[in-house]
């Protein structure tokens, strides 16, 4: 067996065990909650007789012991039946899928913009260390890293939507319009502000890290040797800086998927953007356990997918890894 297949098998086992543990933990946490699923389903002010409540519990399996309930749930998940959302009265799988696609537009835009812009700005700062541009960008990034996402979202909403009136104050499309009448321009118009906020909050980390790594490269021995060979700055950047900082930047940017998901939860809340983060908050606030579990699973899958793509990209970017010389751990 080659080192590479061994590495892949090891990774698959790791992902499967982790996903299994994620499902156990989320289920345990959700079941521990002091929320009566029957009450959440029937409404807290219901006047149903006890028999009927028992029937509801029996129908959904809520009268069974937790382990049996977990097995029922995970069995359903594996066969595509994720349960019924209590607040939307629709299959969780459909709700989560729909919401996830809406969020993906938001998170994807922000992720690409923050990655590309942050990488570029980081190189610029690193090459021109201590110039005024470097100082301004660095200061800006430090403040951004310290600012709560939801506060930036509030400020953007206040300034661009309320004060200037350039953008709508919420939702993903004009309210009260049929889905087929909504144009792409309208969607983009609604997407702009949340995506802006999410990009801006994601940019700080990648910029600061790229800046550090660029400075490191500039002060290295191979940089000195390159200068001695007479390489111009452009040649040096392309041949040495880019190659040395690409890998850490990829690691960071794919690792930030988990954070961009969290940021999206907050931004969606402020802009009432009907994405998966919004669904997570609604589910937790209103005790919709099946939906909450579904969102948590999708979130974990999303993070795993990001890590997997990063691992594949390492091989593309770095010929040493492609040769399968050493497995990357962590």
């Amino acid at each position: 067996m080659s080192a590479q297949t061994k590495f892949i098998i090891k990774n698959v086992i790791r992902v499967v065990t982790l996903l299994f543990a994620v499902s156990v933990i989320t289920f345990a946490l959700a079941t521990m909650a002091p929320i009566d699923p029957v009450e959440a389903y029937a409404g807290s002010e219901n006047h149903l007789p006890q028999e009927q409540l028992d029937q509801i519990a029996a129908k959904w399996g809520w009268d069974q012991p937790p382990i049996q309930r977990y097995l029922n749930w995970i069995g359903g998940v594996l066969t595509g039946d994720w349960g019924i959302s209590v607040i939307y009265h629709r299959p969780v799988f459909d709700v989560v899928g729909e919401r996830f696609l809406t969020s993906l537009a938001l998170m994807g835009t922000a992720w690409i913009i923050s990655g590309v812009l942050g990488f570029g700005l980081g190189i610029l700062c690193g090459l021109r260390q201590n110039s005024w541009a470097d100082r301004i960008i660095k200061g800006f990034c430090l403040v951004l890293a310290a600012a709560p996402t939801f506060w930036l979202a509030l400020l953007a909403l206040m300034f661009f939507s309320v004060f200037l009136g350039w953008f709508p104050t919420g939702l993903a499309a004009p309210a009260g319009m049929r889905a087929e009448d909504v144009t792409l321009a309208m969607r983009l118009h609604h997407l702009f502000l949340p995506a802006l906020v999410l990009s801006v909050t994601g940019i700080a980390q990648i910029t600061l890290q790229t800046r550090e790594k660029t400075i490191e490269a500039r002060l290295s021995d191979y940089a000195l040797f390159a200068r001695a060979r007479g390489e111009t700055e452009r040649q040096f950047t392309r041949r040495h800086v880019l190659r040395n900082i690409a890998l850490p930047a990829i690691t960071l940017q794919f690792g930030s998927i988990s954070e961009i998901f969290g940021g999206s939860v907050l931004a969606e809340q402020v802009f009432s953007y009907p994405g998966i983060g919004n669904a997570a908050v609604a589910a937790a606030l209103r005790g919709d356990i099946p939906l909450l579990l579904g969102v948590a699973l999708v979130a974990a899958l999303f993070v795993f997918a990001g890590n997997m793509v990063a691992n594949i990209l390492y091989g593309v970017v770095d010929p040493r890894i492609r040769a399968g010389s050493e497995a990357i751990d962590g």
């Binding site: 790791r14 065990t17 982790l18 543990a21 994620v22 933990i25 989320t26 345990a28 946490l29 959700a30 521990m32 909650a33 002091p34 929320i35 430090l142 403040v143 890293a145 310290a146 600012a147 709560p148 996402t149 939801f150 506060w151 509030l154 400020l155 909403l157 206040m158 309320v162 004060f163 104050t169 988990s258 954070e259 998901f261 969290g262 940021g263 939860v265 907050l266 809340q269 402020v270 983060g277 997570a280 908050v281 937790a284 606030l285 909450l292 969102v295 948590a296 979130a299 974990a300 999303f302 993070v303 795993f304 962590g330």
Partner: protein
């Protein structure tokens, strides 16, 4: 000629020393100033008379003015005092959470590095597990599992910040254990306790302290986010997340001060602690402590 070169080198060395000793002094001054500001905000917020941030309907919805620097909200709270009080609550939760997380990280990281083998694998796997669910979702789940509220936010923030620091401490302990200076000490017949005290502690302690300080800003940002979403401190309490959440209802009426100032104060505290952490890192790291 050789003398000239030597004296030049010496004077360059001396100049460098002057410059760096100033840097060290500056770092100590900065740490003291930042520490004093943090403690002052904490003490002011905790000992403040409740009258100062009580609601007063005769004073409601005022824009910032000489009496109410940050304006008042729809219930007539003075936003300056209300925010200071909220910051103090955040600082308390942040301190608690970073202390718990830092301690967990220290124990797990050390055990992981010292025991190795399957213990190491289990701990790393646990850290991976916590990092594979987006942090915000994990916070929501933990808070949800105990029914939200103050207990929910404290537990959620305290129990989720250890994985990254655990890895740092594990790597550091491993690095020291396999270091040449430890091998040298062993060769000279020093025991485990001596090595732990003279090599491991001085190297790990700074990492631990700095790591714990740098957890603090994350903890208070997550606390306020959770409160903002409605899972943390009660929404009528003076907490930055709660203030910003209720300010959302008044944005359309142009009450900009309700959102701007409390948020700015939060940013200030977070920036302060980030800077403090970096500063102490420079002062305590064996590699830069002599600079």
């Amino acid at each position: 000629m050789a003398e000239l070169v030597a004296s030049r080198a010496a004077s360059r060395e001396a100049r460098k020393n002057v410059r760096t000793s100033n840097r060290r002094r500056r770092a100590i001054m900065l740490a003291i100033v930042l520490g004093v500001i943090l403690v002052a905000a904490l003490v002011a917020g905790l000992t403040m008379s409740p009258d100062l941030y009580a609601s007063d309907y005769s004073q409601k919805q005022q824009a910032p003015n000489a009496v109410h620097w940050f304006g008042t909200d729809f219930q007539g709270h003075d936003m300056f005092c209300f925010s200071i009080r909220g910051l103090a609550l955040s600082i308390v939760i942040g301190l608690l959470a970073s202390a718990v997380s830092g301690f967990v990280a220290l124990i797990l990281g050390s055990i992981s590095a010292i025991c190795g083998g399957w213990v190491d694998k289990v701990i790393l796997w646990l850290a991976d597990l916590f990092m594979s669910i987006p942090h915000m979702v994990m916070l929501l789940l933990i808070s949800f599992s105990v029914g939200g509220g103050t207990l929910g936010v404290v537990l959620a923030v305290a129990l989720t910040h250890w994985p990254s620091l655990t890895r740092v401490i594990r790597a550091e302990v491993l690095r020291i254990r396999t270091g040449e200076f430890v091998a040298a000490s062993r060769a000279m017949g020093k025991g485990n306790v001596w090595i732990a005290w003279h090599h491991v502690v001085p190297n790990v302690l700074p990492q631990f302290i700095v790591g714990t300080i740098l957890l603090f800003p994350h903890a208070i940002l997550h606390e306020s986010a959770l409160t903002f979403l409605g899972f943390g401190l009660p929404l009528d309490s003076p907490a930055i997340g709660a203030i910003l959440s209720s300010s959302m209802k008044y944005l359309a009426t142009g009450a900009w001060w309700l959102a701007v100032f409390p948020g700015l104060m939060m940013v200030a505290i977070v920036l302060l602690t980030f800077t403090l952490g970096d500063d102490i890192k420079q002062l305590t790291d064996p590699h830069t402590v002599q600079e």
